[in-house]
């Protein structure tokens, strides 16, 4: 709803505040409810970690396999690529074929990396 002079980011900030409030309000209400009516009753077992009805063995904060990390790396690279791609896309209508080919080269370089990773089996989930 453009037209009224307001800084767009103010609306975003307001929305953020509103959204947090939206999430927070029921939590507060639930808290109040618990305070006045339905008391919280924590307990040793109740507040233990759920594990299929057994007592939890070992810590959940354990070390993970590397595959997650590998995906994250590839993701990071392509995320950065997207950062370059977007301004290119915006400017695309004003660009020459040469610039487009430059972008194509850019993409192909990354894709080459991806293909390499694929062939290495990096992107095979384990």
């Amino acid at each position: 709803m453009s037209g009224i002079s307001e800084h767009p980011w103010m609306t975003v900030v307001a929305l953020l505040i509103g959204a947090v409030a939206f999430g927070f309000a029921p939590l507060a209400m639930a808290w109040l409810w618990a305070r006045f009516f339905s008391p919280k009753k924590p307990g040793a077992i109740k507040n233990a970690t759920y594990e299929c009805g057994l007592e939890s063995k070992g810590d959940a904060w354990i070390q993970f396999g590397a595959s997650y990390y590998l995906y994250a790396i590839v993701f990071l690279v392509f995320d950065v690529e997207a950062v370059f791609l977007l301004p290119f896309a915006v400017a695309f209508t004003g660009l020459s074929a040469g610039a487009s080919i430059a972008m194509l080269v850019f993409l192909l370089l990354l894709v080459e990396g991806l293909v390499w990773a694929c062939q290495k089996g990096v992107l095979t989930w384990a």
């Binding site: 339905s38 009753k41 307990g43 109740k46 759920y50 057994l54």
Partner: protein, 210 residues
């Protein structure tokens, strides 16, 4: 005037529209949104599943949201034989559910050990360790019977008071919301029943099979 209001209230509540008091709203909400725990033990569990299936469709009552995590469940349907080996897990699951929580003991086994009552590894009724709201006999109870039990539970919820002396357990801070988990002993569970819930009744011990 007052009568009119009351009538309106009844009329509204017939349509499921919540009415004035907090208590009613509370009970209305609870009773119409009972999410059972995804939890089946034995044959009765199959009938429980059948109850959620097309023919009987427990979803009509808003209860098809079977939650696999006890944290999000309101109701544990003990559907089947609770063995001694399983009993601690059942109690732990119940304990891990947030209040208010309800228990339906579905089938003979859950109530009393049922046909397998004489077995050495069979718990003679889950009410020894957790408080049961509704018992539904049968082996297995028909799906309709489970729906009936469900409605009995709804009625029970409806009648609970929000304040006052006879308000239900979950509203009272002095009453526990978790119960002792029995331990595996050398010959059976220790203790064989939770004395708070299941006071040792006078009289004969189970006559042992010969």
């Amino acid at each position: 005037m007052a009568d009119d209001l009351k009538e309106l209230k009844i009329e509204l509540s017939k349509n499921g529209i919540f009415t004035t008091t907090l208590e009613e709203l509370y009970n209305w909400g609870r009773k119409n949104s009972v999410w059972p725990l995804t939890f089946g033990l034995a044959c009765c569990a199959i009938e429980m599943i059948a109850t959620t299936m097309a023919r009987y469709d427990l979803a009509r009552f808003g209860a098809e949201v079977f939650r696999p995590s006890p944290r999000q469940a309101d109701l544990i349907i003990v559907s089947g034989t609770v063995t001694k080996k399983m009993a601690p897990q059942v109690v732990r699951l119940y304990n891990q559910m947030p209040e208010p929580k309800y228990v339906i003991a579905m089938g003979a086994c859950a109530i009393s050990g049922g046909p397998f009552r004489d077995g050495y590894n069979v718990l003679k009724g889950i009410d020894r360790y957790i408080p049961v709201d509704v018992h539904i006999p049968g082996c297995p109870p028909r799906p309709e019977a489970l729906i009936h039990a469900f409605m009995t539970l709804q009625k029970k919820i409806e009648e609970q008071a929000l304040a006052g002396e006879n308000r239900p357990r979950h509203l009272r801070a002095d009453l526990p919301s978790e119960f002792e988990v029995p331990e595996f002993g050398e010959h059976g569970l220790e203790p064989p029943a939770n004395p708070e819930l299941f006071p040792a009744l006078p009289g004969n011990p189970l006559k042992v099979l010969q």
